[in-house]
């Protein structure tokens, strides 16, 4: 059951990812990205990271992508027109992609140490409680630094927006 669901949503994630690049209309691309985020959330859930799954849905699929869609709708961006391109682009690109993937897989296999394969249901530390405890004891400094960073980003956004008015 877990394996079937994993295969289903992994395929969906990769399919949506490819669709994101292939589609010409920005709304279609943005919604494909939502599909990728949603499938990733399901994969997190299958691996036992419930809190991560919910956060993924709320932050990425919910907040960030809604903002993307909002901006696309506000600008009323139409479908992008394909310019005349070199005929070599597609075969060269495909070959380059395969080469990159091959190098990546080879280096991951060669360089990283062998560990036990991931098993469904083996990991149980993904609850809100477990993550909260880790976050506020072991990783307190990175957590606080990140929040300060986000605060600075918000202030920067406010300052930039002020200049426009």
């Amino acid at each position: 059951m877990d394996a079937i669901l994993f295969l289903l949503f992994a395929t969906l994630a990769v399919g949506c990812g490819i669709n994101l690049v292939v589609q010409t209309h920005p709304i279609s691309s943005a919604l494909s990205l939502v599909g990728v985020m949603g499938s990733l959330a399901v994969l997190y859930l299958l691996l036992g990271a419930e809190f991560m799954a919910a956060a993924q849905m709320i932050v990425y699929a919910g907040a960030i992508m809604v903002l993307f869609v909002f901006v696309i709708m506000l600008l009323n961006a139409g479908a992008e027109t394909r310019k005349a391109r070199s005929k070599l682009a597609l075969p060269l690109g495909a070959a380059g992609l395969f080469a990159l993937l091959a190098i990546l897989i080879f280096s991951v296999q060669a360089l990283l140490p062998r560990t036990d394969p991931v098993r469904f249901g083996a990991f149980t530390g993904g609850t809100a409680k477990a993550i909260g405890q880790k976050l506020f004891t072991e990783y307190l400094l990175p957590f606080e630094v990140t929040s300060v960073l986000i605060l600075i980003a918000i202030l920067g956004a406010v300052v930039l927006a002020r200049k426009e008015i």
């Binding site: 939502v34 959330a41 799954a53 709320i58 809604v66 909002f70 506000l74 009323n76």
Partner: protein, 406 residues
């Protein structure tokens, strides 16, 4: 295998009840609004218009579904589907009552209890913007597009105070599962004030209850925040181009969202299925209520107005039904065989949950009959400059109090 069968039966039951409730909520809303404005409301189809939802349903399903020529077909059809599917999903983590035992099977009156229950609801509510926004965009109509844009901006903005308002009672309950949140509110303060989060110490959550309700009105696009479908500026807003079944889907989604928000408010602030009074009184309240209603109706059956011909029949029938429901609530007080007694104990919590949710749903309708609509800039200023700081203040206060006294 047994788990799958029980889950399927429960899911079918919940979906059926929810959809029927959504249909009758429209009838109740039209009736209440009518009475607020001194009209009678739907009156022709069935006694007091009781069959109006059915006739509306038939009308919506058999009407021609017009698809305008210039719409984006795929997204135009996807949008109502997203809206109604997501609205139905989020009810699955909400419990309706205590654990019950029917025919030897012990089960909770809830579809599933996940330990991130509230986060699931927040996640789904944050994704459900897509239904409305996409519907508005795909219609290729300036009014619909404006409606969709407004809805997206409004729902992102009101999600923040809503989430912050939810966090405060969670700090006291110390869990994310709605079942445990409701269990944390059982019992009474001084023996008579219910131990709900609106009353419970260290900080009574009245402020965050109000923030949650206001944000809930905005999240469900209800008056006074129904800017996405403001009919005097945007024709019908995001669903201008929709007709027939697709329109019905948007309509149903809105009412199901209302039910979800009300049920959530009940669980987070009003004690879920816990009764409002200590035990012997709590069991008698529904009995008195239903018998009172029944007797009032039976009395009025003898004094009907001549022009309202239906009342002669409908008053005694509804009165007798009310007495019948009242006597069902008497069953926990009777000596019954063990199997029946266990079912009888389940209806008390169900009544209290339904009563509180119904009260909040009535508030939704009441507000619609009372308040005028905001302007869009007022709406944005209200949430960012007032509601959001207030929610943060309440959260900090609660956090401090919980850290000091709990």
């Amino acid at each position: 295998m047994e788990f799958i069968i029980i889950s399927l039966v429960k899911a079918a039951l919940v979906a059926f009840v929810l959809l029927t409730l959504a249909a009758y909520l429209v009838w109740i809303e039209r009736k209440v609004l009518a009475h607020i404005q001194l009209r009678v409301g739907p009156y022709r189809v069935g006694p007091h218009g009781l069959l109006q939802p059915l006739s509306d349903l038939i009308k919506l399903l058999t009407k021609e579904g017009v698809m305008p020529a210039s719409v984006n077909k795929f997204y135009y059809l996807l949008a109502p589907f997203i809206a109604v599917a997501l609205a139905l999903v989020s009810i699955s983590v909400i419990p309706f009552g205590n654990e019950i035992e029917i025919f030897g099977i012990r089960t909770w009156m809830q579809l599933t209890d996940v330990n991130i229950g509230l986060l699931v609801i927040l996640a789904i509510s944050s994704v459900s913007v897509y239904g409305i926004a996409l519907g508005g965009w795909a219609s290729n109509n300036k009014y619909a597009l404006l409606g969709g844009l407004r809805s997206a901006a409004q729902m992102i903005s009101y999600e923040l105070p809503m989430s912050l308002a939810i966090v405060s009672p969670l700090l006291i309950a110390n869990t994310l599962s709605l079942r445990e949140v409701a269990q944390a509110q059982s019992g009474f303060i001084f023996g008579f004030i219910p131990n709900w989060f609106v009353f419970q110490g260290p900080v009574p959550q009245i402020l965050s209850f109000l923030i949650f309700l206001i944000a809930g009105f905005a999240e469900t696009n209800r008056v006074p925040f129904d800017l996405p479908e403001a009919e005097n500026e945007l024709v019908a807003g995001f669903h201008t181009e929709y007709s027939s079944t697709c329109f019905a889907a948007f309509f149903t989604a809105e009412y199901i969202n209302m039910v979800t928000i009300s049920a959530l408010a009940t669980h987070l602030f009003l004690g879920g299925w816990n009764p409002a009074f200590p035990e012997p009184v709590a069991g008698l309240v529904p009995v008195l209520l239903f018998f009172g209603l029944g007797l009032v109706l039976l009395y009025h059956a003898t004094q009907t107005v001549k022009t309202r011909t239906w009342d002669k029949y409908s008053f005694p029938v509804v009165g007798l039904i009310a007495c019948g429901i009242g006597s069902i609530f008497l069953t926990p007080f009777l000596p019954l065989p063990d199997a029946l007694a266990k079912i009888a104990q389940a209806i008390g919590p169900l009544f209290w949950f339904a009563a509180k949710t119904g009260a909040i749903l009535f508030l939704f309708i009441w507000v619609r009959g009372t308040l005028p609509r905001f302007r869009f800039d007022q709406l944005m200023r209200f949430t960012w400059l007032f509601l959001f700081p207030l929610a943060i203040f309440n959260l900090m206060l609660t956090g401090l109090a919980v850290a000091l006294w709990k």
